[in-house]
């Protein structure tokens, strides 16, 4: 399984994703510049976090017209896996590959902290390694992560189990206090109708080793490999293995 991590001008989590795929999941991965027009050699495409085009106009609004996004759309239609993390999620909503929009956090602050997520659907290519309702501890780092969808969108997501993650407390309860940014219905991550495109605001790539405070993010990458029926040869963190 070959991964692509797309670098837009202003991406800043691209190398973190590259590192996790390369060193921890031990899969072939390339950093791909946003001018690239074909992604047909890749099975999973990651749009990483950051501030593409300085977040000018709206987050993701300009990145969405990068040449590479035509290729992302083409591969998404073929059923390839597309994972948008943070700014990548924003780009996917701007591109219309995922419904809804992400706007300014309710508290207006940039939030950089660990949050708890409840797995609302473990029957996706990105969550099949999780138990139903499993609680993941993964950090967020954003100021525009407030998920909005109109009633029709929220109904669609709910009815079809397309909400993949919701913000919860450490007991797994979905409460207003556990909602860091004002997202409607505590939504932290969603997928499209066919399930091959997922976006989430939290950063699984920043939580893939115990030394970073959590390795729960690895469940998401592990799920992608499960989906492709790939065995990860070595367990344990990269740091531990290389002592």
């Amino acid at each position: 399984m070959r991964f692509a991590v797309v670098t837009f001008p202003g991406s800043n989590c691209d190398y973190d994703c590259f590192y996790v795929i390369d060193k921890i999941m031990q899969q072939p991965v390339d950093l791909v510049w946003h001018q690239e027009e074909s992604l047909k050699d890749y099975d999973c495409i990651i749009l990483p976090g950051g501030f593409s085009y300085g977040d000018y106009l709206r987050t993701g609004a300009i990145a969405r017209f990068s040449p590479v996004m035509k290729a992302v759309e083409a591969e998404a239609r073929k059923g390839k896996l597309i994972l948008g993390i943070c700014n990548g999620f924003q780009i996917l909503t701007e591109a219309g590959l995922l419904p809804g929009a992400l706007h300014r956090n309710q508290g207006l602050r940039f939030l950089c902290q660990f949050v708890y997520l409840r797995v609302e659907n473990n029957q996706t290519p990105f969550t099949n390694a999780c138990q139903p309702g499993q609680i993941l501890k993964i950090p967020i780092a954003h100021i525009e992560g407030n998920y909005y969808g109109d009633r029709e969108t929220l109904n669609f997501l709910g009815r079809n189990r397309k909400v993949v993650f919701r913000y919860c407390n450490n007991k797994g309860e979905i409460t207003p206090e556990a909602n860091p940014n004002g997202s409607l219905e505590n939504i932290a991550g969603i997928c499209n109708q066919s399930g091959n495109v997922m976006g989430l605001m939290p950063h699984p790539e920043r939580a893939a080793e115990t030394i970073l405070g959590s390795e729960d993010g690895r469940f998401i990458f592990q799920s992608v490999l499960n989906y492709a029926r790939i065995q990860v040869p070595v367990k344990g963190s990269y740091i531990e293995r290389n002592k």
Binding site: L57, A61, F65, H103, R104, N146, D150
Partner: protein
Amino acid sequence: MWLAKVYILYKSEVLDPQGLTVKNALHNLGYQEVDDVRIGKYLEIKLDGPSRKEAETRLREMCVRLLVNPVIETFDYHLEESK
């Protein structure tokens, strides 16, 4: 040449956290009469176009394709002749 003045606002059903905060600040300053504040964007775009109709068509297209996210925002504009 045409000068387009484009106004972009959150839709009324979308919570505007900046507007809410500014409203509270105005209340704290004693302006209790303030009922609501919505913060949006204002753009001035100079564009060429053989006629008002043509310029307007293109401008609307720009709004829908890039300048506005119709999921959360609405827009309005004034188009005037400019040197």
